[in-house]
Symmetry: C2
């Protein structure tokens, strides 16, 4: 089994933190996004969508999508559970992970791609949409702050994949200059707590 990834990207970091929480180590192969290795062979046969990370299994199956990779690793290494253990806890974690991803991380990522033009050699960009995405990302943060005023971690009393997604997206948002609102006391409390976990420095 080996992991194809690009160090320093938010999605590689999500998988690193997940693996560190589980105590999993895997051989890793770096893919150079800037040079377009992700949209050329041999990588493209591993993921026709051209995104990292990809986990190649021993039977040749290639898994892409960070959450699919993490879910597979959870199946192999169930402890500590990061996807929930009952129908209800699994659904609540899936809900918060998706909110963090769809309503925040994706807006941050669209702000990055459309403002920085990092991939403008290979995709059409809209600066107007990048700026809208920056605002949309900032505007949703109070929803997470309110939840973190009620629960220790994003989806309840225990760390889950939803925390990993939100924290990675939050750090990325800072890096791409999303205007984080000042008044997010619960996110601040939670972010400090997570930053102290060794897994969050995994690279």
């Amino acid at each position: 089994m080996q992991l194809f990834e690009t160090k320093g990207t938010p999605n590689a970091r999500r998988v690193h933190i997940f693996m560190a929480e589980k105590g999993i180590d895997l051989p890793r192969v770096q893919v150079n996004l800037r040079a377009g290795e992700n949209i050329a062979e041999p990588f493209k046969s591993k993921n026709p969508i051209g995104r990292i990370p990809v986990l190649e299994l021993d039977d040749g199956t290639c898994l892409s999508e960070s959450v699919a990779i993490c879910r597979y690793l959870e199946g192999l290494h169930p402890q500590p559970p990061l996807f929930g253990t009952t129908a209800q806890s699994a659904a609540v974690i899936e809900m918060w992970n998706r909110r963090a991803e769809i309503n925040f991380l994706m807006s941050v990522a669209m702000a990055f791609r459309n403002i920085s033009g990092f991939f403008k050699d290979r995709e059409k960009i809209s600066k107007e949409w990048g700026e809208i995405s920056q605002e949309v990302a900032a505007d949703v943060l109070p929803v997470f702050d309110a939840q973190l005023g009620k629960t220790e971690y994003l989806a309840g009393a225990e760390l889950s994949i939803a925390d990993i997604t939100l924290a990675v997206a939050y750090d990325f948002a800072n890096a791409v200059k999303v205007q984080i609102p000042n008044d997010l006391p619960n996110i601040n409390r939670w972010h400090k707590m997570l930053s102290e976990r060794p897994s969050f420095s995994a690279a």
Copy 2:
């Protein structure tokens, strides 16, 4: 348990098809998106993100995000399995469901929102981004066509949630005038096969 939804929307349809495949029936409450019921109380307390559908459980827990709702229903009604039964099949299904969702459905949805201006009373739109999204949606379809040349259903030999997501998004793409490429023989074969299932007419 009751389901808050808006008939005719792609995400309501995803849950309807999933329930029909499982033989599940639930009381449903219609939420009027046009009138903004989804961004006002009492709905907003059920989902602060303001999106439908929401499944309210008997203990008052509110689950939003179509896939989280489906995953919960899978826990209650495991047969037929639509999320996989092994670590590997679950991960492959998650991968294809996410590709269908992130790389296709979301582009179709952004084309709809930014071109039609359906929600322009409550969100900023960019016509430029809508048109880019229309192209991005069309451009990814050959990836699904290639996969459906290798497997009966999107994630393998059995129907899964990934088929439901792709098929609903595909029908929505037609409705919002995404230029579907002509040469998609495998998608055509698969779409015809799914359209004949009674669940795909569930409303």
